[in-house]
Each structure stands twice: as C-alpha cells, then as structure tokens.
Symmetry: C2
Subunit: 455 residues, 2 copies
C-alpha cells in the first residue's frame, strides 16, 4: 500500500496533465454537433485504459459508445468484483461569455483545474483509474477485480445504459458499484452518500367549459377550472408542511437515531442557506431539520401551472382548462406506483363534480438507500477517513440518480456513492472546476477502498 500511495504522489503532475488532455475533448452529449468529439473522447479513454494496463474496449450502443475496461484477471483465488461507474460526456458549456478561461482549454488556477467536465465527471473517475494504475504499475496486488463502465450519455438521461447492462449482465455480475459522481460537503467533510430520493411525476388537468368563455357574459354560472385547480391543489399540503394525501406516509421508513445524529453532523447555516436561495424564510415539514427535509423526507412540488391567458394585460375569460405539473420526491420504502395510485385516488375523491379530471403520469423512480451500517458502507467510510485524514460524514441526496436504480434492478447490486465534487465546483455552470487536492485524496481513497472492501 505504501508503494501505491507513493506512486500516486509521485505522478500527480502527470495525472493533472492527463486530466487536461481528457478535458480538452468537448464531449457535449446534448449537442449533435459534438458527436465526433464524443467518439474521439471515448477513443482517448480506451487508449488511456490500455496504457495503464486494463483490458479496454469501446462498446457501441444506439447512442454514444460505452468504454468497458477490466483489470487483468489473475489466477489467484476469487476476488470481490466491483463495477466502477463514470461518464465521459459533459454538460453544454454555454453561456461562453461567463467563463473566465475557455471551457475546453483547461487551466490550473489556484488549487483547481478549470474546464467543462473537470469534476463532472472526468476528474472523478480518472481518480479511480489512477489508483488502479498505481496498483498495476507498482506490482501491488489489487484486492478486487474491477470493471470500469464509463458511459457517454449521462447528461442526456443515460438512455442506452440500461440496455447495455441487460446485455452484459453476466460480465457485470458484481458485489457492488462504486460511483464518484456526487458531492463532497467540504475538504474536511469527506462524504459518503447512502441514500437518494425517488420521484413520481404527474400532470393534473381540469376541464371546465368546452371553450374559453366570456367572463362577463357567463361568469358566475360555471366553475372556473383555474380556481377549481387551486382549491384542489391547496388541499394537498397542510400548514405544517405535511402532505395530506391519505396513506402517503404509510410506507415511509422513519429515520433512525443513528442517521439523524449523522445528518446533524453536516455543516449547515440556516441564514446562509436562506440567503443562498434568496427566500424570506425557510419552510418545510415541521419536526425535521432542513437537512432531513431536503434529503430524507418526501415532498410534493408544483413544477408548473398553466391556464388561460398569460400574455400582457388582461383577458376577460373563464379558461376552458387548467393544469399543473407535479413531482413528488419519495423516500424508502415509498414506490412511485403506489404514491401515484394514492394521489390519483385522493384527487378523484376530493375533485369537484363541476370539472372533469385528467391525469398524465410522467416518469417515476424508486428511492434508494444502502444501510450506512452495512459492511460495504463501513469499508467506504474507512477508506474516506484514511485518505482525507478526518472523520467522514454520512449524507443522503435529495435528488434522484436513475442509474443507481438501474444497477440495483438489473445487476442486483448496491451503489457506494463517494462523491468528489465540492459545492463550489460549478457542476453544470460556467467555470466548472476540480480541486486538485481532492483529486489526489480521491486517488488515495480509491486505493484504500479496494483493500477495505476485500477485507
């Protein structure tokens, strides 16, 4: 292990140079004009994987290819097998004018490397590749078999990934997935993300008269669908921030004392959070801290409202219809199917007889949690502690990461989320960067991780 860590330290300059090379590819998956850049970027990655000693190949999909790279299988006893996930595609760089240096001409400023994709996600999976290189080049035995799956469509919804996993189910059978694509609370708070919220998206539409009606001539005799919608949606949340749909909380697994204690360790300032969001005051479910509210409690949000006239000035109509886009964030053990049923049943029950109710279910995603007290999680926590030299924090993400559900569903494997992106790394924003100290510590974390996982 000493040799491995020494190798990582010694080669840091080269690692940064290689990350620069990698970031230079404008592998913007959302923009068809960059299709060739994505292919070139994937080819660079295959070559790089081969150079460090991996069996690497480019696997075509209906979209952008997947880079599949395996550590050489030795004849020794069966080792644990882990899949390391990452993505070589990046977010669009626009607006260009807000970048201090060009997004695809990476530059080191201060202790960070600036460039689109530096932290999301090129730098993060390169840290794992560097750790593996260190094992392979120093001749130290890698305690795990690893398969890297680096896709090129994460920023556009990982459309081809599930099919790829299905097709390669056999080769990818594993003991777990390692993903460094989430956040790091701070350099002094190495972070293990052990849960994600799920999601249920649905559109609700109320139909009133067969056409927009003159509000003078007819107003007063028919229901106004926009007002009916307001009255319907208003009843879905009480003044304590609780969702009032019967049965909504039935499947919610309460937070354990251990978890609440761990979440309370996360640094949080209410006043600076409030200022950051630009709100007059915070509002959430009574009885929970803001951190618990945003990652471990379910929510109901209106994402959009549409009805009638929306232009300048006024138009004196009773709109023919009104609609709301709604998403609900779910926590274990809620399921999108069940919550959707409860939601529709409740609205049908309380909806007024004066309007016709229509639902348009959109996507859904399961919530996810891996026990922070399980073996793999504990191994990850030890690796973080060793690499960063301080006690790691446990966190849940309020958002959803659909690939984690795909890994769970198709490969039956849990994901260890060990994010290396700092809150100010500007993922998806201009001036994205990756902290080079975190880069180094991430490599060390990876080096420790395989040993801890095999222990």
């Amino acid at each position: 292990m000493k040799d491995v860590l020494a190798f990582l330290k010694k080669n840091q300059t080269r690692f940064v140079r290689e990350l620069c090379e990698y970031v230079q590819f404008p592998s913007v998956s959302a923009q068809p004009a960059h299709r060739k850049d994505l292919a070139a970027c994937a080819q660079w990655l295959v070559r790089h994987c081969r150079q460090i000693g991996l069996d690497a190949e480019l696997r075509p999909t209906e979209g952008n290819p997947v880079v599949l790279a395996r550590t050489p299988r030795t004849n020794s006893a069966r080792k644990p097998h882990y899949v390391v996930y990452g993505h070589y595609d990046v977010q669009p760089p626009e607006p260009f004018e807000l970048w201090k240096t060009p997004p695809f001409d990476p530059r080191v400023r201060g202790s960070s490397l600036f460039g689109r994709g530096a932290s999301d996600n090129k730098g993060q999976h390169l840290a794992h590749l560097n750790a593996v290189e260190a094992y392979l080049k120093t001749g130290a035995e890698l305690p795990c078999d690893l398969t890297f799956v680096i896709e090129g469509e994460e920023e556009v919804g990982s459309k081809s990934l599930a099919g790829f996993l299905e097709k390669n189910r056999g080769r990818l059978r594993c003991d777990g997935i390692v993903i460094s694509d989430t956040g790091l609370v701070s350099k002094r708070h190495p972070t293990f993300t052990y849960g994600l919220r799920g999601i249920m998206a649905i559109e609700v539409k109320l139909f009133g008269p067969s056409r927009d009606l003159h509000s003078g001539i007819f107003g007063g005799t028919v229901e106004n669908p926009a007002l009916a919608l307001c009255q319907l949606l208003a009843r879905l949340r009480d003044k304590n921030g609780r969702i009032t749909i019967p049965g909504f909380y039935d499947d919610v697994e309460p937070l354990t004392t251990y978890e609440r204690k761990q979440l309370a360790r996360l640094p949080f300032s209410e006043s600076s959070y409030r200022r950051f969001l630009g709100v007059l005051q915070l509002f959430g479910e009574r009885g929970y801290t803001p951190i618990e509210q945003r990652c471990a409690r379910p929510t109901l949000e209106i994402n959009g409202l549409t009805s009638g006239y929306q232009g300048e000035g006024s138009k004196t109509i009773i709109p023919a219809w009104a609609s709301a886009k709604i998403t609900m964030r779910l926590v274990p053990n809620q399921t999108p199917e069940r919550v959707q049923q409860l939601f529709m049943r409740h609205l049908r029950k309380i909806g007024p007889p004066t309007v016709r109710l229509e639902f348009k279910p959109e996507h859904g995603g399961e919530p996810y949690v891996v026990s922070p007290q399980g073996q793999a999680a504990q191994a990850a926590l030890r690796a973080l502690k060793n690499a960063f030299g301080c006690e790691p924090v446990l966190m849940r993400e309020g958002g959803s990461i659909p690939i984690v559900n795909a890994f769970k569903k198709i490969l039956g494997a849990d994901s260890l989320m060990l994010g290396l992106a700092l809150p100010d790394d500007n993922a998806h924003s201009p001036n994205e960067k990756f902290d080079l100290e975190v880069f180094q510590k991430g490599m060390r974390m990876s080096a420790h991780l395989w040993r801890e996982l095999a222990a």
Copy 2:
C-alpha cells in the same frame, strides 16, 4: 306617426340595399391594412346622413374619425336632446373558411342579411337613421333633437371616444344616450338592458426563491410559490360560491323584488345552457338563479395562471414565482377602487410570510344601472312593446360596456340600451347576420321611442 310607419314599411327594400352597401366596407379597426376602408366607410356614412337630411360631418380623432350627425334644429320650443351612439367599425372576419358567403359581400338568406358588421353594429344604428329619415321625409315633426355619434374604434376599445366627448361636451349635452349594440333575447322578447356589471382586473404574483430551484436538492426546505398561490387563491371563494373577501358584498345593492320578477321572465333552459357551455353542471352563488348570477351578482374569476415549466414532459423545479390574472365583475354600488383595496388588503393579510406578494392592477370599470322604473326606461319599454307587439323583457348584461361609463362620467347622461342582435346573430363570429324582421321592428321602435321620450 302613421305616415312615418308607412314610410318605413314602403322603403324596406331600399333600406336593405343601403345596409348591403354599408356592410360592403371591410371596416376592420383591428387591422391597420384596413385604415383606408374605415375612412371610406365613414365617408359613405356622412354622405348617407346628409342624404336623409342630417347635418353631418366627419370629425377626425387620433384614431379613426367619428361621424357626427344632427337633426336640423327647428325654431319650435326646446325639445329633449338625445345622443344616438353606434360604431361603423367591425370585428376581423377571420377565419374566412368558416363563412358560407364572403363576409364583405352581404347576401340575404332566409330572413337575414349575412355579412360582417350586419348586426354589430351597422344594421342597428342604421335602423335609428332610417326612423329619423322617415320623420324628415314625411314632414312629421321629430319630437326630439338627435345627435348621432358613430365611432370607428369600438372593436379596439373606443380609444378616442372619451377625448371626443370631452372636446364636444357642450354640443353633446343631452337628456340621455340611446344605444342599440346589445342583445335581443328573441323576436318575441324585445329587450331593454338596464344594467351592466363593472370590472376590476388585477394580477397577483408570488415570489419565492431568487431562481428556479432543483426540486430534488432543495425541495422540502422552501415554500413552493405555485402551491402558495393555489392556497392563497383557494381561500377567496367558499363552497357556496360566495367571495370570502371581507367587505366584498358591503356595497352590493340587493336585487329588488321587481327586478327578480322581471329577470325570472327571461326564457332560460338550464339543460340547454349547460350543453351550450359544455360543462358537467352549473355552479354559482347559492340563492340566486343562473340569470341573476351572470348579470346581477359580483364574481371573482381567475383568467390565467402562470408558473414554472409548461412545456412537454416534466421539469423538476421549484418555480421562482407564480402569478394569476384575476378579474372581478362588479355590480352597483361596488367600485373598482374599493374592491381593489379590499382584495389587496385581504391577500396581504392571509398571504404566507414565506413569499413576497406583488400586485399589478389593470383596468377597472364601474358597474352601471339605470332604474327600470324611471321615466326614460318606461318610455323605452313602451316603444319596444309598440314596435314588437309583445311585452318587452328587462335584462342586465353580465359584461361591461366602457362607453356607457364614459357617457355617464363625461356627459352626465344615462344610456338606454335597446339591443337588436339576436343570440344567434354570430356577433364576433363567422357568418354574422342581422335579422331583417328585427331590422324593420327596430326602425319602428326608434320611431316610437322619440315620441315616448318626449311625452
């Protein structure tokens, strides 16, 4: 009077031909391309007024000119002076493909003349001009002095009319205004419209976070402005259809027993009304008939809702703001100013502290009512009865006619609304028409009216 009525009967064919000539002008005020047609139409009308014996002139305004035409003043004793209002501009004819015959090539089919503007409003004020012609050509003494004010901007908001009235206040000083620009319930229900609702339009906007927020990362800790808006607006109307703004009904003049009896005489079928609007069931303020609800009771309508994402599929955001366009229909003696105050005060009081509330007041208009038991109203009812040969009905309009308020405010005069447009005359729609039997009866009504008013 016998001669006058005989003249009207004898000249009916010519009157229809002249109406055809008048309708041929595509005097579409909303479309700048028709500016010349509006001018030509106004000139035709001036010539026509002169031909029948009126002192007529074209009076320029900042917009389209006003045709001002006066009956010749005789040396006899002072007569009552009435202003007859009308408009020579018409609605756009689009969509052309829905017209059975071209909109500006008027044709008689059945008992109606089809063409854009036939009933709204060319035919209606021509009926009054024809009645005056009958007096002048037969040498019968016209019992009133009349001034016709026929404007060219009614369909685009009568922008220049108030200024014109102000400028000509002296010449237009009068005992009342006669307007035939409203509806006739049926040929067997000659209609006197004695009231209009007023209006107060306002936009309400709620501001939450300084930008749209990721509903996964932040959802649960901040107020959702769209949901807050729904909860706010939901509280403005109770389940009995009553507006819950404190003080809202304080100034509402209760309907008299006489009025309720008169309104109950109007033909009304709930099931065909429901089918016509395409609603599952009617809904309005409990304790009032649909006719009372739509013309004599105040309302609150949401005309439009806007918030967050409105495109295809879903977008997982907490919107930064949400807004609603609202109009309230007012009845005597409510005023837009007072209702606006009550509305804003109430929303400020019940608005949650989690969002910032902003109001954008739009236009307002006073409600209007002229006592149906007053002298002028009774004269109008007698004229209707004589012309149509059956008992007239009393009606209030649910909409607002801003010019009526302008006449009241600037000239201090009440308006007698004696509409000649049948419900199926397709005002503002393709295949607009004017019933020629109503045209003839309208002329007779006008002939009677001046005698009754002077009595």
